[in-house]
């Protein structure tokens, strides 16, 4: 997967590159719009991450160019300007997603994977976890082909997010940002993730032990899949 990162903040670009390279993406980076414009016109990418606040270029113009020369690429807008209008404009111009800064790298990756699933039309993505079957399309967890009805939407979201980042410890902050990130409220340190995990374990335990769901002491939670 080829990714073009257009971001004038070098420190951020650097981190994006490290993270995406570790996740096996091939990264190309630009710190300004002019060079990005050239690269977009000559190379083909699977993903283009565009920062709207470029010093020399209107990010939205870059988006138009990307749609023209790189029609197959999925464009994700990254911006510190979280105005509603920008978002609407960006999506109208054909951006596949819009991620306001500050964002979690895990969130970026999950959005990229969601776009991939959409693009390649993965009809059914099903994952076996111990005795359980996680159906990411229909959003169910089943045991012996019987969906467990007690699992709530939030609980499924948590399992799916951990599954997406399998074999990686996710901190409580990362998990709560994923499931409550869009809500603006004044709790900054919520340990409600623990309560959710406790509930998930309790509900699954009725059928079988979910020993794939690990509590990493002092750090967070992870789903282990050994292949």
């Amino acid at each position: 997967m080829n990714v073009l990162i257009v971001e004038d903040e070098k420190a951020l670009t650097n981190e994006l590159e490290i993270f995406l390279s570790n996740s096996n993406y091939v990264c190309d980076i630009c710190f300004d719009g002019t060079s990005a414009s050239e690269k977009i016109a000559t190379n083909l990418y699977d993903f283009i991450l565009i920062d709207l606040g470029l010093p020399d270029y209107d990010g939205l113009d870059l988006l138009k160019e990307a749609k023209k020369y790189n029609p197959e690429a999925a464009c994700i807008i990254l911006t510190a300007r979280a105005e509603v209008n920008d978002r609407i404009k960006g999506l109208d111009l054909g951006a596949d997603d819009y991620l306001p800064k500050p964002f979690s790298l895990l969130e970026l990756q999950s959005r990229m994977q969601a776009i991939m699933r959409r693009k390649f039309g993965l009809k059914h993505s099903v994952v076996m976890l111990g005795d359980f079957v996680i159906d990411l399309t229909n959003r169910t967890i089943s045991h012996n082909n019987i969906p467990i009805g007690t699992i709530t939407k939030k609980e499924f979201d948590l399992v799916a997010y951990m599954l997406l980042h399998k074999n990686r410890t996710l901190t409580r902050s990362q998990l709560s940002e994923h499931i409550w990130g869009s809500i603006v409220n004044d709790d900054y340190d919520s340990n409600y993730i623990d309560a959710h995990i406790k509930n998930i374990r309790k509900k699954l335990n009725i059928y079988s032990q979910p020993d794939w769901l690990e509590t990493v002491r002092g750090l967070g939670y992870r789903i282990n899949i050994n292949h």
Binding site: E9, A11, A80, N185, S190, H196
Partner: protein, 445 residues
């Protein structure tokens, strides 16, 4: 008391005082006028008599040393007498004196005048009864009183009408420029129509003052908006760095725990910045109001997000919102956050196994949503400050909040013109009442 009423009252009192004084002085005035009139009349009569006497000769009137006398027979209102004067001095006076006329003692205004014809001194007296002089006083006084009272009434009425007319711009300035002013205001300045320069001056002064306030507000909002925007990028960099470091293989668990601490602190910074940005965006009216959603569905969505928190404290939540209430022309994202923060607050300050009730009622022109909890309550003196930013009260049971929950609620409510009333009893609980204007909710059975 209103200025118009004050002016009219002052006018009325001053007029009444002047009129009463005038009416009281009237008898004296009339007497003086009458007296000078009578005196003139007496002198005139004297001249006439002397003219008459000088014609035929004095002896025609005084025969055998007997004086001449004449008066109207019945009423004895006037009299004229001519006699030989025994005294040698000059007399020319007008005085009040009693005279005995046919056994009646009557008070007269008498002109006495002596003159000489040949070697003889004569004295002439002309009198007019005092009663006759005074009998006009009372009717005159009454007429004057009636006319003046009538005039006072008329002028009061005129004053009232005029002062109402002339003071109307003042009321208009207060109503449109002060009470009716909303911040931020995007409508252009409209002059209040008046020909009174004082009011023009007041109008323009208020306008200038409001502009100053408006500018200051605008600057503050811009500052908050810019500051939060500018903070987003550095926060983003830090967050990415921490996340990447966390993944590095040669990092000990001890360091990872410290990275998590950093992540938590960064989250706090992020929450504060995001909240401030949201409030400034609401205040700058950067949100659209184009969503139509069922209110009970919205509350249920909030409930789903928040149920884990209810569960943690074993709080029961009762909801009774008419399912046919549809929110109209609102911003769903904002209203979601309003209810989330309000209910979150009700949980945060509630006791274990407490209760929360969310109910919907109709109240006159309003749709009323009540969120009541059985929490620690708020002291009455603190209620006015609960919507202030960063106002945290020591009674807060949980420390992991920064006092922006209710300010979010307030700015979203203001943006939708929803009025909030708060009632609370310490130790018993707090009730938030949200008054939705009728145009925000459609009752769709």
């Amino acid at each position: 008391m209103k200025l118009g009423t004050k002016l009219t009252l002052f006018n009325t009192i001053s007029k009444v005082v002047i009129v009463v004084l005038f009416v009281l002085l009237l008898p004296t005035l009339i007497r003086d006028i009458n007296q000078s009139y009578t005196d003139n009349w007496l002198r005139h009569q004297k001249d006439k008599v002397l003219k008459i006497v000088s014609g035929p000769g004095i002896n025609n009137y005084i025969q055998n040393g007997e004086g001449y006398g004449s008066y109207n027979a019945l009423l004895k209102e006037e009299y004229v007498s001519l006699d030989i004067d025994s005294l040698n001095e000059n007399i020319d006076t007008i005085i009040n004196e009693n005279r005995l006329v046919e056994r009646d003692t009557i008070q007269y205004r008498i002109l006495s005048h002596n003159f000489r014809v040949g070697k003889q001194n004569y004295i002439l007296e002309i009198g007019k009864s005092i009663d006759t002089i005074n009998e006009t006083t009372t009717p005159l006084q009454n007429i004057a009183l009636e006319i003046l009272l009538g005039m006072i009434l008329l002028t009061i009425l005129a004053d009232q009408v005029y002062s109402t007319y002339v003071l109307r711009p003042l009321g208009l300035i207060i109503k449109t420029k002060l009470i009716g002013h909303k911040f931020p205001n995007h409508t252009p300045y409209k002059k209040v129509k008046t020909s009174t320069t004082d009011f023009e001056y007041l109008d323009i002064s208020i306008h200038k003052m409001i502009q100053t306030i408006e500018n200051t507000f605008q600057k503050e909002r811009e500052f908050i908006s810019n500051a939060s925007h500018e903070l987003m990028t550095p926060i983003s960099i830090l967050q990415s760095k921490i996340e990447n470091m966390f993944e590095e293989e040669d990092i000990s668990d001890e360091t990872k725990v410290r990275l998590i601490e950093m992540q938590k602190i960064l989250n706090r910074l992020k929450s504060i910045t995001k909240t401030l940005l949201l409030i400034s965006q609401i205040e700058n009216e950067q949100f659209l109001k184009e969503d139509n959603i069922s209110l009970s569905e919205l509350i249920h969505e909030v409930y789903e997000e928040i149920s884990i928190r209810l569960q943690e404290k074993e709080i029961s939540c009762e909801m009774d919102i008419p399912s046919e209430w549809i929110l109209n022309h609102v911003n769903k994202f904002l209203l979601f956050n309003l209810f989330f923060n309000l209910i979150n607050n009700a949980i945060k300050y509630n006791k274990e196994q407490g209760e929360i009730k969310i109910t919907g009622h109709t109240d006159n022109k309003f749709f009323l949503i009540v969120v009541a909890d059985t929490g620690i309550g708020i002291n009455a003196d603190r209620i006015p400050h609960i919507f202030n930013r960063f106002k945290k009260f020591t009674q807060s049971l949980q420390q992991d909040s920064f006092g922006l929950g209710l300010p979010i609620v307030k700015s979203i409510a203001d943006f939708h013109k929803i009025r909030i009333e708060v009632a609370s009893e310490p130790g018993i609980g707090t009730t938030f009442k949200l008054f939705f204007p009728a145009n925000l909710i459609v009752n769709q059975p």
